[in-house]
Symmetry: C2
Subunit: 388 residues, 2 copies
């Protein structure tokens, strides 16, 4: 592959690691988090605002972009990077998750997925081969196979049988996706599934690993299962995977999830939570999660988060933001989205730094004790050392 590499730069007593993922659009430091730009824009935020929050990469949704404006249009406008003016790494998902959500609008068989557009009812067919073709036309740096999955929380009768069938089909589709890949400048992620069954996940992981993908994703988590269950299933999913390649937890998650999963060896995350919460007036801060619509913030002159260096915290008071939410000014949602994204970036930067300085166990101890200012979880020595 051209211009793609991954290097674990620091390992830890736990399974955490810090690394560098190089793509044709730059190198990013792992563990890291990609905000979601579903239709090619992170809701309400311009790319220079993301860069200012030190975002390293973004995720776009293949399914949404395939429907509108279509990969041909994106390609004719120079591909995703030029389309959304993001010159850093971009990841596209495969659409598997959205097709699962489409439910009765989609029919799946071995050849692929037939579905109707919820926008205009027109008919589509997505196969492993066309899914790769679409992602190649879109032109992200990191792409994923088409998968079929059973959510982890399923405990109903027949769930194990369905989860097993999904794993088998995903393995066959994984091989077809590899076969279909033409571009040499994109890394294709295999996907581990297996629903709520640890042994099935372990099998899925080891058989996916046998296909020798350059990177692996874990899917089907974060969909309602308990946090303990999630970590148990994640651990089973990661165990058989090679330690030398990137591991990506799809659609994860809350700050707590990110931290715990980093200690299990995850390198990459994406999630809509920071932007969705931001639009709904919820902010992650050093004091925990705040709901800015709450009357107690009316007239509050303090910044959203005194520990934060984002533009929202440097420029606006909680009282102003509260007011903007009350009167329905969209600037408020954009600003809280920006702040939340910056919180995620600070969280992972601080954790990376702890891993690089061998002090992640104290970092974790402080975090688990309730410290929510990421930098305050570092030891004095780590804080004094220059960032890795």
């Amino acid at each position: 592959m051209v211009g793609l590499s991954f290097k674990v730069t620091h390992e830890d007593a736990s399974d955490s690691r810090a690394g560098e993922l190089t793509t044709p659009h730059g190198t990013l430091e792992t563990p890291t988090f990609f905000p979601v730009a579903t239709y090619g824009a992170v809701r309400g935020l311009a790319p220079w605002e993301l860069r200012d929050a030190r975002v390293q990469g973004v995720l776009c949704n293949t399914y949404h972009l395939h429907l509108r404006p279509g990969e041909t249009t994106v390609a004719s406008l120079g591909g995703l990077h030029q389309f959304l003016d993001w010159n850093g790494p971009i990841l596209t998902d495969s659409g598997g998750f959205q097709l699962h959500s489409l439910d009765r609008y989609a029919r799946v068989d071995e050849s692929g997925v037939r579905f109707q557009s919820p926008i205009d009812g027109s008919r589509y067919f997505l196969s492993p081969e066309s899914c790769i073709g679409i992602q190649e036309a879109l032109g992200a740096d990191l792409i994923v196979i088409l998968d079929q999955f059973e959510p982890a929380e399923t405990a109903s009768a027949g769930a194990q049988g369905r989860a097993h069938a999904c794993v088998e089909r995903t393995l066959r589709w994984a091989a077809r996706c590899r076969e279909a890949q033409r571009r040499q400048d994109q890394w294709l992620f295999g996907i581990v599934q297996g629903g709520g069954f640890a042994d099935l996940r372990q099998e899925s992981a080891s058989r996916t690993a046998a296909l020798e993908f350059p990177a692996y994703a874990v899917g089907g988590l974060g969909l309602g299962e308990s946090s303990e269950e999630r970590l148990r299933l994640l651990t089973a999913s990661l165990a058989p995977l090679p330690r030398t390649v990137p591991r990506y937890a799809m659609g994860i998650g809350k700050p707590e999830d990110l931290v715990e999963m980093v200690t299990r060896g995850v390198d990459l995350f994406d999630c809509v939570l920071p932007t969705r919460h931001g639009r709904h007036a919820a902010a992650y801060t050093g004091e925990g999660k705040l709901q800015l619509r709450n009357a107690r913030f009316a007239g509050d002159p303090e910044p959203l988060d005194a520990s934060c260096d984002c533009r929202c915290c440097r420029h606006f008071s909680r009282g102003y933001l509260h007011h903007l939410f009350k009167v329905g000014e969209s600037l408020a949602g954009s600003m809280l989205s920006l702040h939340n994204i910056r919180y995620y970036m600070r969280l992972l930067a601080s954790l990376r730094h702890a891993i690089a300085t061998g002090s992640s166990s104290l970092w974790l101890e402080r975090w688990r004790a309730g410290q929510r200012v990421p930098e305050a979880c570092l030891t004095a020595e780590a804080a004094a050392a220059s960032p890795a």
Copy 2:
């Protein structure tokens, strides 16, 4: 008054002039345009984006801020400048226009205006005195008297009588507003009214001028009357006013209106058009007004306006913006708002430059012939000279 002054720096063969208006929050070059930040935010745009578009000042609506969050809250958060993080000049209107629009929710008599909040039905009373009190608590640099008005387009029976009564009442309220003023660091604008009657406007202007305000606004225009009629009424309104003080055309307007009014001697404008049009996908460009939802922009790789230096034009294609509007991403509306504001700022900067270099008649000739790239209206000599 403290820290406030106005200087006409260049006059022209026409009535146009270029000047400098100094306020406690900086000096601005006139003629200029203030975008509208109704509730303390220009819809969808952060203050640093406005500064980047070289906006010099903004207008906030007293009526809206009085209802939510209330001037006491704004004052407790440090006043308007700190509230919205705008360290440049700010103008507040008096609420007169909004109360006129409230219609059946408002009852006006000599003492002031009784009205019910359309938000929660609670009762309010706005007098000339409380209007000044509110604007002093908000803390803008430029404030205006409470007025009552008859729109210029009224040609119905009794319109002249109503317009006359409005002029008389506005004159009495003007005197009461002056009397009520306490702060020495805000300039209070008198307002010329007179509906659709040139002689009445002339009378309103000369009697308002006799009250010796430091600056004057012209109200009741841009509400449906023809463009010719508007300019005729504006000319009548301006003639009796001193030439040494700033003149402000309230709520105006389209780019064409701004240009024609500058040639009649207006120094200051405000209007919701650039942001409202932007949210509705309409853009002012060197090619005229474009509707970005139009199918012909799908897949168009060109920038919105090749002559523009705003962030939207530097970073995005028309095809991308078209797509964002189609899928309902709010970033598109913010970006077109920003572009339109920058277009207004370029328009007035170029016209200022033409006035300062004595070449405004050729500028106007080119503009009236349909040239819509503001800088291309300048003569070669003016374009080569450093900006005034």
